[in-house]
């Protein structure tokens, strides 16, 4: 579903992303891990067509992120970190606007269905500025899935959420993956969440992909480590080595 080949991003002399190659299979929930500044958001920005790569290529649902960017956009949904929406518009009005931009001409039914799926119908007519962080996150997610994309990108989806919000979000992500078959690409710092949600992981360090495999294989490979946190630090201590997989 996502194929990345030697993807590179340079800003002058600084290399933000150093030739990463990666495959995310259809139906995967892929957890993209790394320290701050490792290049996770740069990767997501390129895959969501917001940023052009300096080198390499990537396809999403078979479409090239540079030459077929509009086709890519029709097949993805994106929830940026600390998702924000138009505060003075209601949740419904925000969703109506983004649904129309996503190609849904008469979005009423799609909005109703999406809000129901996210259990957010009760605050549809509240202004975004009046919603809690968790509710806002759900509306942010709603705008990303309203057109039933093949791939959903989530950038630090749990950031700023309280424990209840984190649990609810996790359940939604898993349901979305199981019920709708959506492939999910998720940047995260929260290793516990990644362990509970993802089916595959990749670890990025200083712009290099230092590890990628399924979560099951990873747990088998690092059977002496008792948590993903320890596995992560074990992998990431080896920053400049080649990918192990």
């Amino acid at each position: 579903m996502i194929e990345i080949k030697n993807l590179t991003k340079k800003y002058g002399a600084f290399t933000a992303l150093d030739g990463i190659s990666l495959i995310v299979k259809k139906g995967d929930i892929f957890g993209f891990l790394g320290h701050n500044g490792a290049g996770k958001t740069t990767t997501t920005n390129m895959l969501t067509t917001l940023l052009e790569p300096t080198g390499g290529s990537a396809t999403i649902a078979g479409f090239d992120i540079v030459s077929q960017s509009m086709d890519v956009r029709r097949n993805i949904g994106y929830v940026p970190e600390n998702v924000q929406l138009y505060d003075t518009l209601t949740a419904y009005e925000n969703l109506e606007f983004f649904a129309q931009l996503s190609g849904i001409s008469h979005p009423r039914d799609a909005i109703g269905e999406t809000l129901e799926f996210l259990q957010a119908t009760s605050f549809a007519h509240k202004k975004i500025g009046e919603l809690s962080k968790g509710m806002r996150q759900r509306i942010g997610l709603a705008q990303a899935i309203i057109h039933k994309p093949a791939v959903l990108f989530l950038d630090e989806p749990s950031a700023g959420l309280d424990p209840t919000g984190i649990i609810q979000l996790r359940e939604i992500i898993i349901r979305l993956n199981k019920e709708e078959g959506t492939t999910i690409f998720m940047n995260s710092h929260l290793l516990v969440e990644v362990a509970k949600t993802c089916t595959a992981i990749g670890v990025l360090n200083h712009g290099k992909l230092v590890y990628t495999d399924t979560l099951a294989n990873t747990l088998k490979r690092f059977k002496n480590e008792d948590s993903l946190e320890k596995i992560y630090f074990s992998i990431n201590g080896d920053a400049d080595n080649k990918p192990r997989n």
Partner: protein
């Protein structure tokens, strides 16, 4: 499903209009335009009314003593001279409102932090440009139309309003639209280019000061206070070769002077301008159109170079 490009632009413009209405920004701008029109109309009418009262009194007294009556004071005054204050209100207040409008329309998505979401949809930079231009044009058009209706109704009540006068009013507002749209596009340009709200609003204001006060001073040796007159006084820039050289460069760039001269001609007012060879009316309109399309091009350039990945970084 491929959607026509214009639809996405219209959707963005509709959202911008909805936001400006909800935040009361448009209502405030509209009210200021309406107050400005009423004030301009009242000031012109009351000053004429006062002169006519004095004239009436004087005529009565002169008739009583059998002396000849002086000519009617407004015999050679064009009927649309009642709108002359509006010229300067447009230059001073209208341009600032247009900058504010363009600024709000440009930055509302950035302030909301939704730029990355917008550009992850099947939504191009051309859609974004069309949406922003449509929204600012519609708002400006609505404000000027309201002001025009006030003038047309008032003129109809005062003087019966022959159709030729109505055409003059329409021409005045059409020229004003071209002038103000340029400022709205400047507001959009800086709103998209600046990384914070202080720069985004201060830079176009500095440009407005240069256009409204500095260029007329260099271009026609006008003192800043002279710029506040709707019709330019005579100046003597030819006396100095240096000022003459400045004039030839700065005068065409002095958009506010071009606007004042063009609208004064449209309203049938006497345009004295500078004592340099007069510019034909056509060239003034060409300069105003160059301003309109130049600023439109600038805002397109701002959209083309806008970094969608960093677009939400705005304070």
């Amino acid at each position: 499903m491929v959607m026509p490009i214009i639809n996405q632009g219209i959707r963005l413009a509709n959202k911008d209009l909805k936001l400006l209405m909800k935040e009361n920004t448009f209502i405030i701008i509209l009210l200021i335009f309406l107050l400005m029109s009423l004030a301009s109309m009242y000031i012109s009418w009351s000053s004429q009314h006062m002169v006519l009262q004095v004239y009436g009194e004087a005529s009565k007294q002169l008739m009583e003593v059998g002396k000849p009556l002086p000519p009617y004071p407004f015999a050679s005054t064009p009927p649309l001279s009642i709108m002359k204050n509006m010229i300067i209100y447009i230059v001073l207040i209208g341009a600032l409102l247009a900058i504010t409008l363009g600024h709000f329309i440009a930055v509302n998505d950035r302030r909301a932090g939704v730029i990355r979401i917008l550009f992850s949809k099947s939504f191009s930079k051309e859609d974004f440009f069309i949406g922003k231009i449509l929204a600012s044009t519609e708002m400006l058009f609505a404000a000027l139309l309201s002001s025009m209706i006030i003038y047309a109704v008032s003129m109809a009540l005062i003087s019966g309003m022959p159709p030729s006068l109505f055409l003059g009013i329409i021409a005045f507002y059409a020229v004003s639209f071209v002038y103000l749209a340029g400022f709205a596009y400047i507001g959009i340009f800086f709103g998209l280019n600046a990384d914070n709200s202080s720069k985004a609003i201060l830079l176009p204001l500095i440009l407005w000061i240069i256009i409204t006060f500095a260029l007329p001073e260099f271009g026609s040796a006008l003192y800043p206070t002279s710029s506040l007159n709707p019709v330019l006084p005579d100046t003597s820039v030819l006396d100095s070769p240096i000022l003459k050289a400045f004039h030839s460069i700065a005068y065409p760039l002095s958009i506010s002077e071009q606007y004042k001269e063009a609208t004064a001609t449209v309203l049938g007012l006497q345009t004295t301008g500078t004592n340099m060879p007069p510019y034909p009316q056509g060239s003034r309109m060409l300069i105003l159109f160059a301003w309109f399309f130049g600023t439109l091009g600038l805002s397109y350039h701002a959209v083309r170079n806008f970094d969608a990945a960093q677009g939400d970084d705005y304070e």
